[in-house]
């Protein structure tokens, strides 16, 4: 590393490289190196390993029968209905939970921003779902929806479609609903806090000016508040969407994938850990990684387009 820094510094293309900046560069890399090396060792290297293993038929129970099969594992996965069913479940959970969280989280952020009393109490409460273990929250909701021991049926039996004997884990849509409720409960506070940070950066003068000019509450929301929070909303959506796409804990605890509620993460886990199919599992790992990458790319692109068009309009 030292030699590359030294040669790079003597290149004529960088005439500004003084002794001081070379030393600074070297010190900085010494400080950053442990973190960078660790991150590469634990993520990049295993990912390459997965890429390699995905080309083999490799079952841990019969390691001697390892055999090179090329892209066959990918072909098997991509032509199997289960892969698409699980991907669809994952995408659906992501879309619904993020959309609902955005609305509820924004409402919470508005309340927290405006309220002048008991701010400490509210901050403490909102951090509880954020800090609580996902497995615990999943159990809490599983029990709440439980047929024999849950309070949901009793409390909400006046709603159409819910009765004393509604079995929330008996069919696909009910189970998906229960899983989404657990996910939304746990992660809305995070969304609300990120949106609150965005909200507090909007200048009060601007809102006051809009008010004086006769803008209604609705107009102020759509023309002043939301456009000025675009950066905060983007960060919140990006983080939460990628997090929701990786959903695993809730499904593991609440249904174990029964009633076709399996997610892509759960499928990958099941292949590797429960069935010891390291080759097939690795192919699924690579596909999952690529989906996350594509998703991140799409969200960033989508919002950039939005930003540009908004600026064009303005």
């Amino acid at each position: 590393m030292t030699t590359t820094v030294a040669t790079a510094a003597t290149k004529p293309a960088k005439p500004a490289a003084t002794d001081r900046s070379v030393a600074e560069n070297r010190l900085a890399w010494k400080l950053v190196a442990p973190a960078v090396v660790l991150m590469l060792l634990v993520t990049a290297w295993p990912m390459l390993q997965a890429l390699y293993l995905s080309l083999f038929r490799y079952r841990l129970t019969t390691p001697d029968e390892r055999e090179f099969v090329g892209l066959a594992n990918y072909w098997t996965a991509l032509t199997d209905g289960l892969f698409w069913q699980d991907l669809w479940n994952t995408v659906l959970i992501m879309l619904v939970t993020v959309a609902v969280e955005l609305v509820i989280g924004f409402a919470f952020a508005m309340v927290m921003h405006r309220i002048i009393f008991a701010r400490g109490v509210m901050r403490t409460s909102i951090l509880i779902p954020y800090g609580i273990i996902t497995v615990v929250s999943a159990f809490a909701w599983q029990f709440a929806f439980s047929l024999s021991n849950g309070f949901v049926n009793g409390w909400f039996s006046w709603l159409p479609g819910i009765g004393e004997n509604t079995n929330w884990f008996g069919d696909h849509w009910h189970a998906m609903f229960a899983i989404m409720v657990a996910e939304i409960w746990k992660t809305t506070p995070f969304m609300a806090l990120l949106l609150l940070a965005g909200l507090s950066q909007i200048s009060e003068d601007m809102l006051e000016a809009a008010k004086v000019d006769g803008a209604t509450w609705w107009q102020r929301l759509w023309k002043v508040i939301l456009p000025n929070m675009r950066a905060a909303i983007m960060v919140a959506v990006l983080f939460r969407a990628l997090d929701a796409f990786r959903i695993f804990d809730n499904i593991f605890v609440m249904t174990r994938g029964a009633q076709e509620t399996e997610s892509s993460s759960f499928l990958t886990y099941r292949q590797v850990i429960e069935q010891f199919q390291l080759g097939m599992g690795s192919a699924l790992s690579v596909l999952l990684f690529l989906s996350v990458l594509l998703l991140a790319f799409l969200i960033v692109k989508l919002f950039k387009v939005d930003l540009a068009s908004a600026r064009g309009e303005g």
């Binding site: 390993q49 901050r123 509880i128 159990f139 029990f143 950066a231 599992g281």
Partner: protein, 276 residues
Amino acid sequence: MQQKTGVLHWIGFAAILVWCLLPVAWIFSLSLKPEAEVSAGSAQFLPKDATFANYRSILEDGDFTRALLNSFGIAMIATVLAVIFATLAAYAIARLEFRGKRVVLSMALAIAMFPVVSLVGPLFDMWRTFGLFNTWPGLIIPYMTFTLPLAIWTLSAFFREIPWEMEQAAQVDGATSWQAFRKVIVPLAAPGVFTAAILTFFFAWNEFVLAISLTSTTSARTVPAQMAYFVGPDPFNPPFSLLATASVIVTIPVLIIVLLFQRKIVAGLTSGAVKG
């Protein structure tokens, strides 16, 4: 008009409290229900006959207390190590000019979004080869790695706000470099480092995928993993009240941290994510 918004605020306030606290109250109430009441089916919110018997039996369960010890040990060690590494890196990012800074930051961001399940297969394979499977370091190493991005982002945002000129001012006033660092910089940086530590601890305390994949016995299994396997004698009738009791016990540390440091946690969460 003023009156109306006041009422709306109260409604919003009540809604947030109910949202956040109801499931917690529910799990606590369930933990007080006697096992007999639960296995007979008790669909009401409050226990008919509250008892702390579940707490006694769960704390006498050797597997659960061992899992609690594992959780504490692994989360603590991972937190300390991650914060040390992240502090070094964040200092360099906030204060020094170097080539590749953007690459390091983008890498951290990419890892924050990484699907952890993708690593389960290869890590399972590698850890068995290196003898790290089902050990504390086997979980500590990935936990450190996955919390580094958050810690680096939070800390570099904090460090950028520190008035570093004060260090030189102290030296001009006759302090040695070490004194200037100890007496001026450390007190200014400590809140940020502490916040990063809390967020890291939460992650390690919460983590589940790796905890069930990279352990096989109670020698390294953490509480979330142990709870997922805790079925009791009758698999068709899970011990709801015991699981609820275990849930309450593992939530206590979270509650204490949140009560004491709510302001710091909020600052850390938002500074890392919004100001970047």
